[in-house]
Symmetry: C2
Subunit: 410 residues, 2 copies
């Protein structure tokens, strides 16, 4: 029997407790011995059948020699960071769903885990219940990862699905998402792309071995997307998605960004609907592999946390393949130096002529109910700095830029 | 440094050798030490840079104390079975891509691995390079698997994609598949569903803990599918796929079968095109998770084999969660006792009236270029035995049954 503990009895924490008890036998079979939930840290009181296991004192977990694995599902950097450090230093493996903590302190916590011969696992931090982290560092471990691109945030995917599929406005779709519990009251972290940014940072570090801080990743949310853009996307066989992606460029730096993108309707990413997540991993041997499922929610996330707890219990020694370092260097290429094809929507007289003069050959798109003097086009791939300079030229010619969205081919 | 060996230097075996050498550093990083390919067993001679490592004598591998992990990629049951047994009994972990062997001898080989404290891994046996087996017994290990349904054979999916998407005939699509190297000269195992059957047997055993023999699984291939069926599928918003599936029924038995099915266009399975595989796993905590990628091919399969070799090298002790037993009981429910909705295509006078009389309410489908007196309908779910009995009644009323395909909702 292996003692385990949970830090935080919120949505995920209570799901972890529930799952450990509900599927106790299956878990014992898989680990070869039972996992015993000995302690739960929370400052609140709960009226649950396992109320006797609660403590308000972190030392009760840290100092308990029975506890070999601890799930940190508090969220936020503090005090989760301090608790995790103390646990790892005490030789207790830590598993977490805390993407913010991993995105900021992952390298340090992984080093600490290695130093003390235990593990720091975080399957639930990206893709919720979808197996993703473990498959990358274990099942695809014989591959060099060439590229990762994914729909990493269910809330924004729900909003875009509604906008594109049912023609509702961003505001209405967001209100629906809030009503259904998919979006927080303050939806900033989701709709501005910060949540997806933390997740792509984790995947980038995992795939390329160097810590990537959210601040160095160009991040654009979906707040500027309009129904008009959605209509134009449809008109050219594309679908609007918020894509987080990372790949290694020829100069050794990483292209790493979060932004709306128009992807081909045939793409596997185009078919990820509603609150689902889908993450494409391109390996040099295996080609494209896609992982799909619920990226959030109490039980899916608990499923990933408990699987990590089981893994840490089964193989207590440090896993060498789950590791990256923070070498103090920013490995992310300035987004202005990267290349992309674009969708562009402008308003003004003689726009088509001006666009052709400035961008060379463009494909003109059409929609019903276009605004007066509205023109939308697709432009060929170019360096983003050049693209932005040409937008400046457009503005000098008295055209207003109503929308600009990258085109991606997956 | 850990010594490894390969049995068989065919397509997969040469891919494994290539990958072990090409991604040597990445592999050493992930395992914490290098894997050294010491021996390759093959009766043929090869002109390759590593020709000095070949042997024609199995004992050279079995008796080599340096070799801790061996990849069996010979295919076929014999002598792969005898070699695997000897290796496991000698304390050498075995990893394989050999679905036939796992489908017939999996329980015995897993028991032998457990007895000798080593591992028998077979990630590459289902889904080729797609991480699937490992995610099920590790990442979803906290879940009870409720159901698995998948496109498990790339060749037949390619043929169906061409028939449905481009309106080509079965024969033409098969000829194309053979030209592209997707289908063997003798395509029986693919088109009759035997390949998919072996794979669903492996997944069934993995998910439910009991060995399932291919003989007890109702298996129907795609040879009876016509362009007419494909057109009718399209007309009702469905897509024709060859689906292998397993779920536990309320009576404790397993529904396990391979058959063509019409799935909803919105389904994730409907969007799996060409030679790709897609496997949906429904867990009680995590909900639907889908794994997608190349289900065959030299390097994708090698990627899965090498990942298993790395896992076996990293954690030599037997993994308790990868296990099932052969208790001599046939756990598969007779397919005639299972329930399904159906698409049905008949020919004869007054068919619509006769169909309504026999099946109750039916939805009539339409297509251009229908045969004279052809009628196609969708009928409500019923026990398969009842369905077959009613087909008998139809025949007694002088209607010929041209096609019958299950409807599945995923």
């Amino acid at each position: 029997m292996i003692g385990v503990a949970i830090l935080g009895h919120g949505v995920v924490g209570s799901g972890v407790a529930e799952l450990l008890m509900k599927n106790e036998k299956k878990i014992a079979f898989s680990v070869g011995q039972p996992l015993y939930l000995k302690r739960i840290l929370d400052l609140r009181d709960f009226d649950v059948p396992y109320a006797d296991r609660f403590t308000k004192n972190f030392e009760d977990i840290l100092k308990d020699p029975d506890i070999r694995v601890c799930a940190e599902v508090m969220g936020g950097v503090h005090p989760a960071y301090e608790f995790s450090k103390q646990l790892l230093a005490a030789g207790i493996s830590v598993v977490t769903s805390n993407k913010e903590l991993v995105a900021y302190k992952g390298a340090e916590l992984l080093a600490l885990a290695r130093e003390h011969g235990v593990n720091y696992y975080f399957e639930a931090s990206v893709g919720g219940g979808v197996p993703l982290i473990h498959p990358i560092y274990r099942c695809l471990a014989a591959n060099h990862v060439e590229e990762i691109a994914g729909i990493l945030n269910g809330t924004t995917n729900y909003i875009l699905t509604k906008m594109l599929g049912e023609g509702v406005s961003f505001e209405e779709a967001l209100a629906n998402a809030q009503k259904l519990g998919y979006a927080e009251k303050d939806p900033t972290a989701d709709v501005e792309g910060h949540d997806a940014c933390r997740k792509i940072c984790i995947l980038a570090a995992l795939a390329y071995g160097k810590h990537v801080y959210p601040e160095s990743v160009f991040t654009e949310g979906i707040t500027k997307i309009t129904e008009a853009d959605a209509q134009y996307a449809k008109s050219c066989g594309r679908v609007l998605k918020l894509i987080g992606r990372v790949k290694r460029l020829e100069n050794g730096k990483l292209l790493c960004m979060v932004s709306p993108a128009m992807v081909n309707q045939q793409s596997q990413l185009a078919n990820i609907q509603d609150v689902f997540n889908g993450i494409l991993v391109r390996g040099d041997a295996t080609g494209d592999v896609l992982f799909y499922g619920k990226g959030a929610g109490k039980m899916p996330t608990a499923s990933a946390v408990v699987a990590d707890m089981m893994d840490a219990a089964l193989y207590p020694q440090n896993c060498p393949s789950l590791y990256w370092e923070d070498d103090g260097v920013d490995h992310v290429e300035n987004h202005l130096e990267t290349t992309s094809a674009y969708y562009l929507r402008v308003q003004g007289e003689h726009a088509e002529k001006e666009l052709s003069e400035i961008f060379g050959s463009v494909s003109v798109l059409h929609r019903e109910d276009a605004l007066p003097d509205e023109t939308a086009v697709l432009v060929d791939p170019m360096r983003e700095r050049d693209f932005q300079n040409r937008l400046e030229e457009l503005r000098e010619r008295h055209l207003s830029v109503l929308g600009q969205i990258r085109l991606l081919d997956y």
